[in-house]
């Protein structure tokens, strides 16, 4: 490419659209009395999430990490009794680059004291409708959407049944290693591209994909993660939880993540033990959600690729 690499990749109109969306987001939360806060982007602790990689840095001679999300800081504020708050700023994930990913990206994350996932999901729908001027909002349980699109119950189907479904729909270069990999493949390659152009809210995820959400029994008695996702036109935009407040369970999940990392030759980094301490001290019931702002801008200005809404993506950063 002969393109001058000093040049921004995003047109001015898209950066104007970004600026006005950021202002609209801040107005939305100010009207609802949710406090904007800043939390560390540079931290001594890293994520333990098996599928998310922190970027390492060095600070005063010691290892530090760029935050993959503001969740730990925000939850410590909630535990400190600071009430409803949000972060609107940068987060970093190593190796994530493509049409919808840049390793450095803008994230909006907020927490609601005393709310559960369903109440917060409604607020996510309200925010998205207002920002994107979309009125059509549909919500489904993870099971209902799988049943509708694939005729398969994602909680009860066996690994063999899921594998058969994957191999019927997709061509892979590998054998899926487990149920969750099959579900991820079906969701990202088959279901998402077939979602409507409106807002889709999806809740009650498989318990094995709970991350930091509570696990509770659904109306069929199956344990499900009280976690939700929001999509617009098949693009994943937000992920929210009815937050786990049980310190012992949180510690077990961090340790399980670290074990998985060790067994799968992934880097094992110091996990967020201060969140466990905060949970021991006591965190009130709350729900929290993180939303990818760059993708929101993509939708608002109908951009096909993320570099059209970021002035200097990683190749030019």
């Amino acid at each position: 490419m002969s393109d001058a690499l000093w040049r921004p990749t995003a047109p001015l109109d898209n950066l104007r659209c970004r600026a006005s969306l950021l202002a609209d987001i801040r107005r939305f939360f100010s009207e609802r009395e949710v406090l904007e806060v800043e939390v560390p982007v540079l931290s001594r602790r890293a994520t333990s999430d098996p599928h998310i990689e922190s970027i390492s840095a060095e600070c005063s001679g010691d290892k530090a990490y760029l935050a993959t999300s503001p969740e730990f800081g925000l939850k410590r504020l909630i535990a400190g009794g600071f009430g409803d708050c949000y972060y609107l700023g940068k987060a970093f994930r190593n190796g994530e680059a493509g049409g919808r990913h840049n390793p450095e990206f803008t994230m909006l994350e907020w927490y609601r004291h005393g709310w559960d996932d369903h109440r917060l999901m409604i607020e996510v729908g309200e925010l998205l409708s207002r920002l994107l001027k979309i009125t059509r909002v549909c919500s489904y349980s993870y099971r209902a959407l799988f049943l509708q699109m694939l005729g398969l119950d994602p909680h009860r189907a066996t690994f063999a049944e899921l594998k058969a479904c994957v191999s019927e729909k997709l061509e892979l270069s590998f054998e899926p290693a487990g149920r969750d990999e099959c579900l991820d493949l079906l969701m990202s390659h088959y279901i998402e591209p077939r979602m409507s152009s409106g807002i889709t809210l999806l809740y009650d995820f498989p318990a094995s994909q709970a991350a930091l959400a509570r696990v509770e029994k659904d109306e069929q008695g199956v344990p499900v993660a009280r976690r939700f996702e929001a999509y617009v036109g098949g693009m994943e935009l937000a992920n929210g939880y009815w937050e786990l407040t049980d310190a012992a369970e949180q510690l077990r999940r961090f340790e399980a993540d670290q074990r998985y990392r060790q067994e799968n030759d992934k880097a094992v980094r110091p996990f967020e033990d201060r969140l466990v301490e905060a949970l021991i001290a006591g965190m009130p019931d709350c729900a929290g959600v993180a939303l990818g702002v760059d993708r929101l801008v993509m939708l608002a200005c109908k951009a096909e690729r993320i570099e059209q809404v970021i002035a200097f993506p990683i190749d030019r950063a």
Partner: protein
């Protein structure tokens, strides 16, 4: 042999897949927020021309394919093989009808085309985008009826059949786009 990881996949990269040389058409990084990362890749099989869509786990790698495109002059067809020559080195290569495929109907002696070599042997032949060829057969021109803008088939010296305007006659030379088999105009007399 070198290998490439999914994060190095980009359009035009030549790799081996299922034993066949392929050219990467498109590589999309797909990652559910809380799930595993995949790369959804479109590859063109250079032997068959078929486009495959394949999903890889991010971080998987493929061996590079020893494939390169060379400009070569088409020399002649001996009845079985088509012969090509590299203009700089005068090195000659022969390709059978299967390898030349559809390109055969556009090949005129001394024209320069692109020969794709795989492990040193021709794998595919791409004719020039525009060729100038003589009409060897067509119905007689219908004068006075040209305002209707009709077309008729014309057979060219290389065997290709293209649609041409009604006024063209046997013996005229025309310019054709080989990608669409579209008539572009009468060739200018030098």
């Amino acid at each position: 042999m070198a290998s490439y990881s999914t994060n190095e996949f980009k359009g035009g990269l030549k790799v081996m897949l299922d034993g066949d040389p392929c050219s990467i058409v498109e590589n999309e990084f797909v990652k559910p927020g809380k799930g595993q990362a995949f790369n959804r890749v479109k590859l063109r099989n250079l032997k068959t021309g078929r486009v495959w869509e394949r999903t890889f786990r991010s971080g998987e790698s493929l061996e590079s394919a020893d494939v390169m495109d060379r400009d070569m002059e088409y020399l002649y067809n001996d009845g079985e093989f088509y012969h090509f020559m590299e203009p700089e080195t005068f090195e000659q290569h022969q390709a059978d009808a299967t390898t030349v495929g559809d390109a055969a109907k556009w090949l005129k002696e001394q024209d320069v085309c692109v020969v794709t070599l795989y492990n040193g042997s021709p794998l595919a032949v791409t004719p020039p985008n525009h060729v100038i060829l003589e009409i060897t057969d067509t119905d007689p021109g219908v004068r006075g009826d040209t305002a209707q803008g009709g077309t008729k088939p014309a057979t060219l010296v290389t065997g290709a059949v293209v649609k041409v305007p009604l006024f063209l006659e046997i013996g005229e030379t025309i310019k054709v786009d080989t990608r669409t088999a579209e008539y572009l105009g009468r060739a200018k007399e030098d």
